[in-house]
Symmetry: C2
Subunit: 357 residues, 2 copies
């Protein structure tokens, strides 16, 4: 049915523009799971039998998760969807749909919004997801809330709570790579050509979606979560959920090498690996007998999987140093309500990176 | 399983506190639709056969949708859930679950948060909803994003797009009552005892959930939506979606009487009814033959339902004055991106209420 545009208010016009640019499902729905898509009070989903829905929502806020001066709008659009989708991958589910609630200042409704949409569109295509609804508002600084929906076979979702003493601890990818990218941005070094590629892990994080699904289908992990706030903080959460402790071996951590151009910047690969946030890799535990199968899955999905430690009965998180000495590993990743923890705005005060306090 | 708290970070502690205060479903899930609730990367839902899921998300932002100085925290908590739930009621669905993404300054993590949670808890009990997940962040001014999930029988959801020429237009409740409450707050008159009860429609809006479900079950409405941004703006959206026009009779609108204490404040019941926002009543269309059934449903649910106009073939929205004269009805409700439209922060400049410009 042809629709006049004369009656359309500005808000509706902006929603139409986003829906045109981002892979999405319109009002008429599709034949699979969506009966009614964008453009109504709500979205209507028709779930298939034998599958479960996995849901999560996640904020991305200006001056907390990104800065206008340092973060290209395409990265903001890509990253907010990646951050939310990471939670779906961490359950072992297949990401399907997302809702976008977007609050913007009027100055960002032109070119900024188009670039934001192009980044979000890239993420939606990479993750094979469709926009199915949302909300748009005006505000002084950008606020984005993404709600993601994934689907998975009945009963296969992997919670954080199943780790058992004796199980091995694994991470995917390199830990600390995204934090290194953020440090380069915040120190104003992003223009150096030799450092450009180090920014990618922070600006456009890769989400191990295929591996997450395979791990769940094979029922390998006893517990799993994504590393969003830093290994030290997220591992403590997994241990609390499972009622266990952990020992991590510092020399086993897959650390990020510091480029020569950053010599003198006082960046320590071990500190980045332990406390740096937003890698969005998987942190999981598995019985020792799964080690061989894990090596084969790593090859098949071209994902690096590293054994970094083991689950213990005593409810402490310990770091084992190369000389065999053990020390408590405090949660020094990102915790928005800890006094010294503010990923972006009080960056200069942060102990993590060894900058002068 | 007993869980130690020593390892718990501040963010996890805040989530625990909210989950204790607000009706919610914890990590273990329940026997009905939730396999895994609060406390993991994501929530896992097990949908029942023959039902559809209805989803919507909605922002509530400080200085846009509420002001710290004028809005009690309990109202902020109640209203943000009511606003989002209204979209579910407008499809004719039964609201079931919600996700809460909350960004707060550290100064609001104490008493403010407890009062916020008590208001949200009141709304969750009234609407029979459960909190099943979310996200908490730190920010300079409060941002809340609510994702709501409703459930309804297969194929009964009522979209905005089915209005046909000749169908009658109805609204529930009184239009403009919430805007009157907001005007009292913004003009600093909330302390006057005779005006206290006028604030309720704005601070604690009632959502016609039962009526919405009955209308859908009986398949009465050809189109339906909630009035969130004002009748003039929302009716235009319904017309665009349906490819039709409308005529509204000014003397049929269920207007709010202006209390004597507001004489001289230049408040016009007709302007409030046409353009005032956030009543969260239902706006729907139905074939003329349904009129009798509607009267019986109104009695049964103790909800006021008023016939206010009719759908036309010509794609214009017209206001019919008491003398029979017709004039175009411009969309002058809340549109966040129209220059003169800012519900709260540029209130003084607003033409709507007749204040000096």
């Amino acid at each position: 049915m042809p629709i006049t545009t004369g009656l359309k208010d500005r808000e509706t016009q902006l929603i139409d523009r986003l829906a045109q640019k981002i892979p999405s499902i319109g009002h008429a729905g599709n034949r699979a799971g969506v009966r009614l898509g964008i453009g109504d009070d709500a979205t209507v989903l028709r779930p298939s039998v034998k599958s479960e829905w996995v849901l999560s929502c996640d904020f991305t806020l200006e001056n907390v998760h990104f800065r206008d001066a340092t973060h290209p709008p395409a990265s903001v659009g890509y990253r907010c969807l990646a951050r939310a989708t990471s939670d779906i991958a961490a359950m072992g589910a297949r990401p399907r749909y997302f809702l976008l609630a977007l609050a913007l200042p009027p100055s960002k409704t032109g070119k900024w919004l188009d670039l934001f949409a192009s980044g979000m569109s890239r993420a939606a295509r990479e993750f094979d997801m469709r926009l199915i609804g949302g909300d748009i508002s005006r505000t002084a600084s950008v606020a984005i809330s993404i709600t993601v929906l994934g689907e998975m076979p009945d009963g296969l979702a992997i919670p954080r709570s199943g780790a058992k003493p004796g199980h091995l601890i694994y991470v995917t990818g390199i830990v600390g790579a995204a934090q290194l990218g953020l440090e380069i941005l915040l120190r104003g070094l992003a223009a150096k050509p030799s450092l450009k590629k180090c920014l990618q892990s922070h600006l456009y994080p890769q989400i191990p979606i295929a591996l997450g699904q395979l791990l769940a289908l094979r029922r390998i992990p006893s517990s799993m979560m994504d590393i969003s706030d830093g290994l030290s903080t997220d591992l403590a959460r997994l241990c609390v959920s499972s009622g266990v402790g952990a020992r991590i071996f510092s020399n086993k951590l897959p650390k990020i090498p510091i480029p020569a151009a950053l010599a003198g910047q006082n960046l320590d690969p071990l500190q980045l690996a332990l406390h740096g946030g937003e890698d969005y890799g998987l942190l999981f535990t598995a019985a020792p007998k799964s080690a061989r199968l894990l090596r084969s899955l790593a090859r098949r999905t071209e994902t690096r999987i590293t054994h970094i430690g083991e689950i213990t009965r005593t409810r402490k998180v310990l770091l084992v140093h190369p000389d065999g000495r053990e020390s408590p590993l405090p949660s020094q990743g990102w915790d928005p309500f800890r006094k010294d923890s503010n990923r972006i705005s009080t960056h200069e005060k942060k102990a993590l990176t060894g900058l002068p306090q």
